[in-house]
Each structure stands twice: as C-alpha cells, then as structure tokens.
C-alpha cells in the first residue's frame, strides 16, 4: 500500500492512516483465550478454597469443644474424648529434623558435585537423568525401601549395642547406649521413618539445589577463579552463598512434602491405633513406637461417625497449618535473600 498522501499539518491525518490504525471489531479469539485462562485459574483457586473451607467446617466441633485437649492429647483412635495430635505433632517435627539433618547435606553435596565438579561428563548427565526419574518414584516404594533396609539395619544394631553396653570401658558403654537407642522397637522407630522420608526427598533436594546452582552466573565463578581461587574456594565463598536462597527454598519445600507423607511411614511401622507418649523420657520416646500427623489422619479417618470426621478434619488442619508455616518460611527466605547480580 503506497502512502502517497500523508496528513498535512493541521489538516488531520490522512484517510489511509485513520483506516489503517483504527480497530476493526472485536478480536474474538483473544477474548476466548483470555476467558479460558481466567476460568482455569478460577477452578484451581476454587478447589483450594473448598478444601480449606471443608476442613475448617468439618473440624469446627473439635475447635469449639476441646481445642486445648485435642492438641495436648496423644493419638487415640478408640476413645473420642481423648483423641488428639500431640504425639503425632511431635513425631512430625522430629521427622522433619531428621530429614533436615540427613537429606539436606547429602542432597546439596550431590548437587554441588554434579554441577560444579562433574559438569558435563557422561556420568554426570546419566546421573542427572536418573535423579529425575527417582524423584518420580511413588512414595510407597520408598516405604518398602525403609522396611527392607532401614528397619532391618537399625534392628541389626541391637546385638552389638548389647555387647558394647556390657563392656568395661565407659566410652564403649556410651556408644552402646546410642546404638541401643537407634535399634529401639526392633528398628521400627522414628529413625527408620526419618531415613525413609530422607530417601524420598533426596532426589527433590538434588534437583532443586542443582537448579539453584545452575542459576548462579558463570561470571561469578570466573571472577573467583580469576583471582586464583581453587574450585572449593570458589564454591564455598561465592557459588554456594549466591545459590543459598534457591537451595533453601527448595529444601524447605521438600520438607513440606516429606511431612505430608503417610505411606512410607505406615510401611516402616508408624503406629496407627493409639500412641500416648505422655510423660515418657525423650530417649524412651525416640527409640519407641512413633507416629506422625499424616498417619494420625489416616487412623482417625478409618473410624466411623461424624465425631470422628471432625477429629480427622482437625488433625488435617493442624498438618495443613504446619505445612503452610513451612512454605511461608520458604517464601520469606527467598524474599530476604533476594539475589542481585
């Protein structure tokens, strides 16, 4: 289209310009796409809202009648009036700590090796693919792993523990006591549960930490190498601090995932019926039978009647709040260490 007449000053734009630049009806396709996108968002939000409202509503009787007792009472799926979440909450917190101690350092170390040391080797690429596959393995399979390996191994510690406890040396006796602790309840203790959950989230930790490390610009590494830093000095002083927010976010999110899992804990032998920890000592509790919030939810959900439904909902709400606190923590960390480069 040859524009021979251009609007003259004061005479307004030429017709060709006016016609070319004014709207021609409604762009229907764009409107439809926009509508679909909004609907998708609405449906997703609705599911979440319905879920929360339902849980709150369902658990309302518990919060109005005996909120304090519900929190303070142990797991009890036979007597309604003394059903609570205290032992399960403690179990979940201890499990989270074990996962934090076992899975995080291990997973971050794996990621540092894969991203900083092995970079492009065949081995690293092959490992990366397989770590991704591992992240997709169903949680119940990790429960089998926990039962077959961790429970057995922890139980196996019982005999050497007894030998050492009978030893004359004080130091050996101490070691014996610790081993005995780990072997409590024939290995079906909270350590087995914590290890199973650690195995479950390990691939997720590796993947998120790898991504955080990969997001650190190459220029930072070059800067450090440029002044004569070794590989480790570069990683320790520059790459890890720069990747820290991403790594933290990923690990806290994987912790939230771990605390929500019931299946592996059930296989490892978490208590589903009744577990009142009451005034038992710490060590006794740790080496004895254990339970956790998802397991408590499972236990209560199996009981019939509206009252038990309320208890189930209340336990679910406690877990939800715990997980939300963890996620909030992750978001706060990310915002706080907002990285700039």
């Amino acid at each position: 289209m040859a524009l021979t007449t251009i609007g003259s000053v004061g005479g307004g734009p030429a017709r060709s310009i006016t016609e070319g630049l004014t709207k021609r009806g409604i762009d229907a396709r764009s409107k439809i796409v926009e509508g679909l996108l909004i609907t998708s968002l609405g449906v997703s939000l609705l599911i979440l809202v319905v879920l929360v409202v339902d849980i709150v509503q369902r658990s309302w009787p518990v919060w109005t009648n005996r909120p304090g007792d519900f929190i303070r009472d142990g797991l009890n799926s036979s007597t309604l009036d003394s059903a609570g979440v205290w032992s399960a909450m403690k179990g979940t917190v201890i499990l989270a700590v074990i996962v934090g101690i076992v899975a995080f350092p291990l997973g971050i170390a794996c990621a540092v090796y894969l991203e900083e040391y092995a970079t492009k080797s065949r081995f690293a690429q092959w490992t990366r693919v397989n770590v991704r596959n591992l992240a997709g393995v169903p949680s119940i399979v990790y429960g089998l792993l926990g039962l077959g390996i961790f429970v057995k191994a922890l139980n196996g510690l019982g005999n050497p523990a007894a030998d050492l406890q009978g030893n004359g040396f004080v130091l050996f006796r101490y070691v014996g006591n610790v081993l005995h602790w780990f072997s409590g309840n024939n290995g079906r203790n909270i350590f087995a549960g914590g290890l199973a959950l650690s195995a479950l989230v390990l691939p997720i930790v590796v993947i998120t930490a790898s991504e955080a490390l990969r997001a650190v610009p190459r220029s930072i590494r070059e800067g450090a190498f440029g002044v004569g830093a070794t590989q480790w000095e570069t990683v320790r002083h520059h790459v890890l601090p720069a990747a820290a927010p991403g790594i933290l976010t990923g690990t806290v999110l994987s912790l939230a995932r771990a605390t929500g899992e019931a299946a592996p804990l059930l296989l490892v032998g978490a208590v589903t019926g009744t577990l009142i920890t009451g005034n038992k000592g710490f060590v006794e509790q740790m080496s004895g039978p254990f339970t956790a919030l998802p397991v408590a939810i499972f236990s209560y959900a199996r009981q019939a009647g509206d009252d038990w439904r309320a208890v189930t909902g209340a336990a679910a709400l406690v877990l939800l709040v715990l997980v939300l606190i963890m996620n909030g923590f992750a978001i706060a960390l990310r915002n706080r260490y907002d990285r700039k480069w």
């Binding site: 970079t119 220029s219 070059e222 002044v227 004569g228 520059h238 720069a242 700039k340």
Partner: protein, 297 residues
C-alpha cells in the same frame, strides 16, 4: 587522582569524537620507540581446540613486560580464546585443548607440574561484563588477599585502600566500603574488578573487552587507568574497538578468521603483530590494512 575529573573530560572528548583524525595516535617517533623489554609470554604455533573445533591457530606472539598489548580483529577470530590461554581460563571449558607452545618467563604454562590456580594468582583477569561478587565492596577486594593468607585486618585494609586508589575508585567508594558492590555503576563495577585484580598483585592483567559494556566516559576512565598502572603491570587487552587499541596500546596483534574449505568452519589466526603505530599507519599485511581502515570486519 586529584585531577581525574579534568583529565577524564579531555579523554572522553576524544573518545566521543570520531570525526577528527581517525586515530588518536602519539607521534610516530614516540610509538616506534617501543623498547624490547623482557618477554613475559611467548607463544609459538599456538592452536586452541574446543572439542574437534579448531578455534584459532598459528599464533606466534611475544608479550613484553610493562607494555600494553592489544588484540584486535573481527568476531570469532580467536583473540579472547588466546587471551584465556595466558591464565589457563580455558581449563574451565569442557573440551578445550591447547597445542603448540605457550610459556611464561620461559616456563611451559601447560606443563604437567604447573598448577592453574597458582597461574591465576599471578596473572589476573578482567572480564567483558563487570562481574563483582554480590557482596560488599570490601569483601570483593578482600577475597583475593585472604586466599593468599592475609589475615590481619590492618594489613587487609591497607591493601584494599591501595588497590582502590590504583583503580581510581577510592574517592568514590571510601565512605561505603560495606555497601553492596552491585549498587555501583557499570564503570565503577569494572574499576572495582580491576582493583580486585590489582589487590592480589599479579604480574600480568588480562583484559577481555573490558569496556564493551561501558559508556564512553567510563571507557575513558578505564583507559586512563590502564596507562597509570602499566608501569606496575603487563597488560594484554582484547578489544573490538580499534580506536581503543590505537589509543592505549604499545603493540597490537591483528587476528582474523579463515574459513576452512573442508569443514566450512571458521578458524581464527594471527595475521600481524607489530608496534601499534605500525599496525595503524603502515601495516605489512593488506588484511590488516583493510581492517584498520574500516573496509571489513
């Protein structure tokens, strides 16, 4: 650096006024009198590969002490690749391989007993994009000396002040050493990177297009700075800017690319290496002449 403001203005005018004489050269007498100082780096028949790809070949260079040597040439001619051999930065790239000779004061840089980390402590590098660490100005500068075992606060403070002064940055940042280096302007960041380099007292400073991300005024400051520190350091600079090479360097190496007829891939090679005045006024090779007069590249 008391008169840095004034001198900065004068240089930036020349930088921003390409309409005058094409190159801001010193008189031929001044430039022809490049002394034959100690050879710091010597390369003979140097070639660098990335995997199967030959990035650059046939590089024969003598880099001399306390001189500024400029590498110029079109994109992909291998000038940065060669520069990155001098401090073994290419080691960090998977599949990079060096053939031929490259020596530092007569020592084979790629010899089996040579530690690349030690090499980089003696041969510093300033990168194309300013890359301060996302930390405080102080920590940026303290990192290198700390690696070298400087622990006393007073000693560290002294090194940092001295390095910042040499990089002409002290007056601008002395009151906010604990502020993030990311808050500095691009030009300040690049001078910080030079200061960071200077803080470990290297013998050589390699600069890989240090001004390509900077505006003309910041560029002029860096160029001025190079002249000031050249008495203490040997400088090798890769630049896309021919005028910059002409302004700052004592010697210039011109690289170009050649298409390999078999693989149809481009390989860089050194065409001519001589005093800067000769390269820009009376080059021996017609490709050099075509490039410096702007007929190609």
């Amino acid at each position: 650096m008391t008169e840095s403001g004034d001198s900065m203005n004068t240089t930036s005018e020349t930088a921003a006024a390409p309409t005058g004489p094409m190159f801001d050269l010193q008189t031929p007498e001044e430039r022809e009198s490049v002394s034959d100082g100690t050879v710091v780096f010597q390369t003979r028949d140097l070639a660098v590969f990335y995997g199967d790809f030959k990035a650059v070949r046939e590089v024969d260079l003598d880099i001399r002490q306390n001189e500024i040597t400029a590498f110029i040439g079109p994109s992909g001619c291998g000038k940065s690749t060669v520069l990155r051999c001098f401090d073994r930065m290419n080691d960090l790239i998977e599949g990079a391989r060096v053939e031929g000779q490259i020596s530092y004061h007569g020592l084979d840089l790629y010899g089996p007993d040579v530690d690349a980390v030690e090499v980089r402590r003696r041969i510093g590098m300033v990168f194309q994009k300013p890359n301060p660490f996302p930390k405080s100005i102080y920590d940026n500068l303290a990192f290198g000396p700390r690696l070298n075992g400087v622990k006393k606060k007073a000693e560290l403070d002294g090194i940092i002040e001295n390095s910042l002064k040499r990089a002409a940055l002290w007056d601008e940042v002395k009151d906010r050493l604990n502020a993030s280096a990311m808050g500095l302007s691009g030009g300040q960041q690049q001078r910080l990177c030079i200061a960071r380099c200077v803080a470990v007292e290297p013998e050589v400073i390699l600069m890989d297009e240090p001004c390509s991300a900077l505006d003309p005024i910041a560029t002029a400051r860096i160029e001025e700075l190079m002249q000031e520190i050249k008495n203490d350091f040997t400088i090798v600079i890769v630049t896309h800017n021919m005028q910059q090479a002409a302004r700052v360097s004592d010697r210039t190496a011109f690289f170009t690319t050649e298409v390999n007829p078999e693989s149809d891939r481009r390989t860089g090679r050194l065409v001519e290496y001589a005093s800067t005045s000769k390269i820009f006024s009376n080059p021996s090779d017609e490709r050099t002449e075509a490039y410096v007069t702007g007929r190609f590249g």
